[in-house]
Symmetry: C2
Subunit: 332 residues, 2 copies
């Protein structure tokens, strides 16, 4: 059975630790804040599909340094912070063997670059997920609704045949466990579909401390503004060759948010992060799109403004965290 | 001696109450939160120019309803919230006689419209001020540095001769008191010079919880972004005929902020407001510029994004204040 290392045991990592346990895989999770809880009590999952209160006891380490070895598969389930130092590729290096496949279950655009640079010969599997899971307390994960979508493909989309094989094996593992997984010949299209919404809603809601519906209600111009931002992302996606991403898709996405006006609405992840003073996936979600825009010379004046603003907020919170840490206010 | 009503006795209103007391004017101030303090103890001013701990005892009312009458001059020194209900013109109506001059000591663009509509025959004096005054506690005002600039002119710039006369009289009162005041034939130019900086820095700093220098340090793109926003305001000013407002002016303004990089920098008023959960002058400072941009069909994609974001933040804080008020957490 395959030996699998899961880097990041929040909601997503814990969910797939559960799923892959079903096929008898030898699983070790790399935990940070929840290390002690998972070490002592394992990981409990509440899921409408996989049962309530199901406990597993995978191997647990606090760092990949403690998981040196030639793993068959590493799932990266942490948030994506391209440009972070040390990078995740640097952190997982001790666990990567010559044939280790690395699956990235993360949001954003251009997040694969660092992994490809660090491990040019290893299979890199790029994944988009729609999975409403939350770690409600350390080691206890709640799968809130019966939604489980995993879209995967190789990076780059035309890799050596062995990389395609690794991608197929990962898909088969998930399916054998009873889970959902669909292979796409160009998974970047799936990433662009997700980011076309995320690159606009995430920073706008975080900057305004508003859910999607509350933002739409905030002024007569808000609806047009968010649409204009999404259309900039659409133009970038189209310049990349993704003509499937168009204004109709934006309208469909917006209509869902418009239908929520009058209710509390939905809060994207970055708004949760800003409320908690946590680091936001600014580079992966907004910066990655702009990197493509600049390469293809697609003007994105609105997205650039939003990027600079959310980047400055992220830096502002980073200063606060540094001060807190230097005063020993946090235990981290 | 003239009878003068001062609407809004924060820093600016209190400062001019002091100045105009010197010429023996009969002054009444309309106080809100500091009513009790000013009623009992008067207004104390600490100023490098006008002395430390100087106390005056003007008339004090809590509403213009208590100041019914044919005042010679009303100084509006509250923040500018065009579109507010009730409007300041509605509030001061009981105090406005057929010849009462109304001087607006407020920021922004298009703030005079409501007054002209309500009082089409009264002299309206539009003023730009640079005056670092703060109410450090109720009824005690600190003039922090020896800066005192009052730029004034009629609204509109070509009014009946009686309105020009009222403007001259106001200037002369200030000068007689030993203060600074300069009449401009088109004071709107002075407003545009101030707003070209304010419309960019105010919301950007408020949205990012950063001083000007901290924002400039937040990413390699921040400098270009704030300049691009200012250049949009410049284009609107130029479309209004103000060719004096140009890229050179923007560069000069930006170089001051750049020189502050490495230090804590300056915090514009909207950042203070957002920290205190207070209402921000979004419509006066950003909305007023956009109103002109739309009239003149000048594209302002960046400023529109910033407007929608800061508007949504303002609404978000308004919801918080409403909840607080309905729970009786505030005394207001």
């Amino acid at each position: 059975m395959p030996r699998i290392l899961i880097f990041g045991a929040g909601g997503v990592g814990s969910f797939y630790a559960h799923l892959l346990t079903k096929v008898g895989a030898d699983i070790t999770v790399v935990c940070r804040s929840n290390y002690q809880a998972v070490k002592e009590h394992g990981i409990v999952l509440d899921s409408p599909k996989y049962g309530k209160g199901v406990r597993i006891r995978p191997g647990v380490v606090s760092s990949p340094v403690d998981a040196v070895g030639d793993w068959d598969l590493i799932l990266v389930c942490s948030k994506a912070f391209p440009g972070m130092n040390p990078s995740v590729p640097q952190l997982i290096k001790p666990a990567v063997g010559p044939k280790t496949a690395i699956a990235l279950l993360q949001n954003g655009i251009h997040i694969e670059d660092e992994y490809q640079e660090a491990f040019p010969d290893n299979p890199i599997i790029s994944c988009t997920i729609y999975l409403p899971v939350t770690e409600i307390y350390p080691g206890h994960v709640d799968h809130q609704e019966d939604l489980e979508i995993l879209e995967l493909g190789t990076f780059p989309s035309r890799p050596p045949i062995a990389h395609i094989q690794a991608c197929l094996e990962f898909r088969n593992l998930i399916k054998t466990a009873g889970g959902e997984a669909t292979i796409y010949s160009d998974v970047q299209l799936r990433r662009w579909i997700k980011v076309a919404v995320n690159a606009a809603w995430n920073p706008v809601c975080a900057l305004t401390l508003s859910s999607d519906s509350l933002f739409l209600s905030s002024s007569p111009y808000a609806d047009r503004m968010i649409k204009d931002v999404m259309l900039e992302v659409v133009a970038v996606a189209q310049a990349q060759g993704y003509s499937e991403i168009n204004e109709g898709m934006v309208e469909e996405q917006l209509s869902r948010a418009r239908n929520r006006v009058g209710s509390f609405g939905k809060e994207p992840s970055m708004l949760g992060d800003v409320r908690m003073g946590r680091r936001m996936e600014v580079e992966a979600i907004v910066g990655g799109v702009l990197k493509c825009a600049w390469e293809k010379k697609v003007p994105c004046p609105r997205l650039e403004v939003i990027y600079c603003l959310i980047k400055a907020v992220d830096e502002s919170y980073a200063r606060t965290r540094e001060i807190a840490a230097s005063n020993n206010w946090t235990g981290s």
